[in-house]
C-alpha cells in the first residue's frame, strides 16, 4: 500500500495505491487520524489506485467518517475504481462516495454562537484575542464578563496521617461542579477506604484511580437521575461560570505548551490571582505520580512519607508518559492562595510564586473541533467512546540533569475563570 498526501485548498487528499485489506487497514486509519490530529478536518480519499477493499477496509472508512464527524469535518471517497464503488454501494455506504455526498461547507471555526458555557449553562462569545507563546498560538475567547467560580476544600485529609472516619466526605459531582482530590466511589465509606486514590470530576463525569487496584481508572457518568459521587478524603470543588476559553495549538514543529505556561496564560487573560480550570488537551508528555496504596489502609505504625517506605504507597511515572494521548485536566492555580485552599496548592518549582494542584485523566487520543466548543459534550465523548487509561497527580520533576521537567501539551481547549475560596461544606 502506497499512501500519498496531497493538499487542495482546505482539503487534504489521501491517495491510496494498493489493497485496503486487514493488512493495511490500521496503517490507513492511523494515516487519516494523523491528519486529523494535525487539524486537517476536510479529508478526501482518492481511491483511483485502490485495487481491493475488504470488510476490514470498509470498517476503517466508517471509523474515519465517525472521527471526522466528531470534529465537524467532512470525509468522502473520490475517484473510486469500479470494484471499490461497487463494494461501497453493496455495503450500503454509497454516501461515502463524493458524488453521492452533498457539498458541505467547511465549518466556521471560532466565530459561531456558543451553545453553553461548561459550568454555568449558556455563555456568549464577545470577542477574541490572540497571545503568542513560543511555537504556540493561543486564541482567547471570552465567555462571560465577570464570571467567577467558588472553590472549597470540602475534604481535608493531608498526607500522611491515618485516615479517620471524620475525614471521609461524600462528594456529589453534578454537571455544573468540577473538582479533584483523593477518594473512591463505593457503597459506603467503609467499602471505599481500601481503594482511595486520585480523582478528577468534570461535566458530570467522575474518574478515579483505585489505589492497589491496578493501573486502570474507574469512572461514573451522570445519567438521568444518577449523579456521580465519591467518598473523598481530600477534595477541591468548584462551581460557577467560566470566563474564558483558551484554544492553543502549535504553529511549528517545536511548539509545546508547558503546564506552567498554560497557568500563566489563564492568569493573564482573567487578570486574576487565582484561577480554576478544566482542559482537554493532546499530550506531549505527562510527569506525575499516583497513590499505589490507599491511605485508608494506613496505621499509626506506617510512615509512608519517608524513603524507601514511600515506594509502598506511591507510584512515580518514571519517564514522560502518554505522548499522543488526550488528557482531561482539572487544575487550581494561584499567585496568592487564600488560606482556605492554600494547604492544597503546592509551589511550582518552574515558576516561583505560583501554586497549583492538577489532576489529569488520560484517554486514547480523540481529536477536537476547532474554534469555540462546549466542554460538556466533548468530555462526555471521551467517557462514552473510549476508556480512561491513567490518572495522575501532575508534578514537576526538577532533579538536576535527570529531571523529567513538567507536563507539556500540543493543542487543546482550556476553560477557566477566577475563583474565590470559600470555607468547607456544601457549595
Amino acid at each position: 500500500m502506497k499512501i500519498e498526501t496531497l493538499t487542495d485548498g482546505r482539503r487534504t487528499i489521501l491517495k491510496l495505491d494498493g489493497r485496503l485489506d486487514v493488512t493495511w487497514a490500521e496503517h490507513v486509519l492511523n494515516s487519516a487520524l494523523e491528519l486529523l490530529r494535525g487539524g486537517r478536518h476536510e479529508l478526501r480519499m482518492d481511491a483511483s489506485g485502490l485495487q481491493y477493499l475488504s470488510s476490514a477496509g470498509i470498517r476503517v472508512l466508517i471509523r474515519i467518517r465517525r472521527e471526522v464527524s466528531a470534529v465537524q469535518g467532512s470525509f468522502a471517497i473520490v475517484n473510486p475504481s469500479p470494484f471499490v464503488e461497487n463494494a461501497l454501494r453493496m455495503s450500503g455506504l454509497g454516501e461515502l462516495l463524493e458524488c453521492d455526498t452533498p457539498e458541505q461547507d467547511a465549518p466556521d471555526t471560532g466565530t459561531g454562537d456558543v451553545a453553553g458555557a461548561p459550568c454555568s449553562g449558556s455563555a456568549v462569545q464577545k470577542g477574541r484575542g490572540d497571545i503568542d507563546v513560543a511555537g504556540i498560538q493561543v486564541d482567547v475567547h471570552p465567555l462571560g464578563a465577570g464570571a467567577m467560580l467558588r472553590v472549597q476544600a470540602t475534604a481535608r485529609w493531608r498526607p500522611w496521617t491515618p485516615v479517620q472516619d471524620t475525614d471521609v466526605v461524600n462528594l456529589p459531582f453534578p454537571r455544573p461542579v468540577f473538582g479533584l482530590g483523593i477518594g473512591a466511589a463505593g457503597v459506603d465509606a467503609g467499602d471505599s477506604c481500601s481503594r482511595f486514590g486520585e480523582f478528577a470530576a468534570l461535566a458530570g463525569c467522575l474518574s478515579w484511580l483505585p489505589a492497589g487496584g491496578g493501573d486502570t481508572p474507574d469512572y461514573l457518568v451522570e445519567a438521568e437521575r444518577f449523579t456521580p459521587s465519591i467518598f473523598a478524603i481530600q477534595g477541591l470543588v468548584a462551581e460557577g461560570a467560566f470566563s474564558h476559553l483558551l484554544r492553543f495549538r502549535p504553529v511549528d514543529k517545536t511548539g509545546l505548551l508547558p503546564l506552567s505556561s498554560l497557568f500563566g496564560q489563564a492568569l493573564e487573560v482573567t487578570g486574576a490571582d487565582s484561577v480554576a480550570m478544566v482542559c482537554i488537551a493532546e499530550i506531549e508528555g505527562l510527569v506525575g505520580a499516583a497513590l499505589s496504596r490507599s491511605p485508608g489502609l494506613m496505621t499509626t505504625a506506617d510512615s509512608p512519607g519517608g524513603f524507601p517506605q514511600i515506594r509502598d504507597w506511591m507510584a512515580f511515572c518514571g519517564e514522560r508518559v502518554h505522548a499522543r494521548h488526550s488528557a482531561l485536566l482539572v487544575a487550581f492555580v494561584s499567585r496568592r492562595p487564600d488560606a482556605a485552599v492554600a494547604p492544597y496548592l503546592v509551589p511550582l518549582s518552574s515558576t516561583p510564586g505560583l501554586f497549583a494542584h492538577t489532576h489529569a485523566v488520560v484517554f486514547p487520543f480523540r481529536p477536537l473541533p476547532e474554534g469555540v466548543i462546549d466542554l460538556e459534550p466533548h468530555v462526555r465523548m471521551f467517557f462514552e467512546t473510549v476508556e480512561p487509561v491513567d490518572l495522575l497527580h501532575l508534578i514537576e520533576d526538577d532533579r538536576p540533569a535527570v529531571g523529567l521537567g513538567q507536563s507539556t501539551f500540543l493543542r487543546g481547549a482550556c476553560w477557566c475563570a477566577p475563583f474565590s475560596a470559600g470555607k468547607g461544606g456544601a457549595l
Binding site: R158, P159, G214, D215, Q234, A289, S292, G305, G306, F307, P308, I310, R311, M314, A315, F316, C317, G318, E319, P343, Y344, V346, P347, S349, H357, H393, I395, E396, D397, D398, R399
Partner: protein, 283 residues
C-alpha cells in the same frame, strides 16, 4: 514481603519454603543477594509459573529446591519432609526436572529405550540387569506414543539422533515417568524453535493435568505464563513481589503482566530525590 500461599484451596502442601535466603560471593564487590527471604507454599496438584526479570532469582529458587546448592537460611519441605540439607541426588526420589538445554536431561549415545529405562528407576538402586522384557518395552512404547511424535517406533535409535523438540518431549516424559512429587521446569522450552516450544508446552500441560502433578516452572514467556499454569509467582531482586492466584488466572492476560513489570520498574525509579519531590509536591 508477600507470603505466597494464595490458591492452596485447603489442599495438602506439596512444597513449603520458609525464609529462604541465598547470597552468592558474600562480602565481596560481586555480592549477589539472590534470594532474600522467600516464603512459598504449593498445594498438591498446583502448577505454578515463576516469572521475573533477569537476575530476579527465579532460577536460583528452582535450583535451591532441586538442591543444586545449600541455602544460607530457611527451610524447604517436600510432601512434609524437610530436605533443606539433602544432596541433589537424594532429592531425585521426590523431584523430576527438565532443563532449558534439551540435551541436558538425556544420554545422547544411549537409545530412547535405554534412556527411559534409566528414568524408570529414578531414585531407586540401579544394577546390571538383563535387557528390557517385552512387556516393559510394550508399556514404554504405549507411553511414548502419547507424545504423538511417532517415537514409539524408534525406541532403539540413539536419542542423540532426535531433534531438540523431540528430545525435550522425551525428557519431559522421563522426568514424569515415576510421577515425582514435584516437577521442576527450568525454561524448558526456551531453547526450542517456536513450533517445538508450543508442542512441548502443550505436552507439559497435558502431562501435568493427566498425572495430577505439582509443578514449578520458570519461564520468560509471558504467553506461557498466562496459558499453562494455574498460578503465577512474580519475582524481583530475590523477592516474590506479586502473585496471581488460581481465581485471578481466569482474567490475567499478557498486557497485565507487562504492566506489573512496569510498576516494578517504576518503583525502582522512585529514588530518594523523587521521594523529596513528592514530599514537596504531593498533597
Amino acid at each position: 514481603m508477600l507470603t505466597s500461599t494464595a490458591g492452596t484451596g485447603g489442599k495438602s502442601m506439596m512444597l513449603e519454603i520458609r525464609g529462604l535466603r541465598k547470597t552468592f560471593f558474600p562480602d565481596t564487590p560481586n555480592e549477589v543477594r539472590a534470594l532474600q527471604g522467600i516464603d512459598l507454599d504449593l498445594s498438591e496438584g498446583c502448577f505454578a509459573a515463576i516469572i521475573g526479570t533477569n537476575g530476579s532469582g527465579k532460577s536460583t529458587l528452582l535450583n535451591a529446591v532441586a538442591g543444586s546448592f545449600l541455602p544460607d537460611q530457611g527451610t524447604v519441605r517436600i510432601d512434609g519432609v524437610e530436605i533443606t540439607r539433602w544432596e541433589e541426588y537424594r532429592r531425585a526420589q521426590y523431584v523430576g526436572r527438565v532443563f532449558q538445554n534439551p540435551f541436558a536431561g538425556t544420554a545422547a549415545g544411549m537409545t530412547i529405550a535405554e534412556n527411559i529405562g534409566l528414568a524408570m528407576r529414578r531414585g531407586l538402586s540401579r544394577g546390571l540387569r538383563p535387557a528390557l522384557p517385552r512387556q516393559v518395552r510394550d508399556a514404554m512404547a504405549d507411553r511414548v506414543r502419547t507424545l504423538g511424535m511417532g517415537l514409539e517406533n524408534r525406541l532403539d535409535n540413539p536419542i542423540g539422533t532426535l531433534s531438540g523438540g523431540q528430545r525435550q518431549a522425551l525428557t519431559l516424559l522421563m522426568a514424569t515417568w515415576l510421577k515425582p512429587r514435584l516437577l521442576l521446569l527450568d525454561e524448558h522450552t526456551a531453547a526450542l524453535d517456536p513450533k517445538s516450544a508450543a508442542q512441548v508446552a502443550a505436552l507439559t500441560r497435558e502431562i501435568i493435568e493427566r498425572e495430577h502433578l505439582t509443578a514449578l516452572m520458570v519461564t520468560h514467556s509471558m504467553q506461557q505464563a498466562v496459558q499453562l499454569p494455574n498460578r503465577i509467582i512474580m519475582m524481583h531482586q530475590g523477592r516474590i513481589v506479586r502473585q496471581y492466584s488460581e481465581s485471578e488466572m481466569a482474567r490475567v492476560r499478557v498486557p497485565e503482566l507487562l504492566a506489573a513489570f512496569d510498576r516494578i520498574r517504576r518503583r525502582e525509579q522512585l529514588d530518594p530525590a523523587v521521594s523529596d519531590i513528592l514530599g514537596r509536591q504531593y498533597l
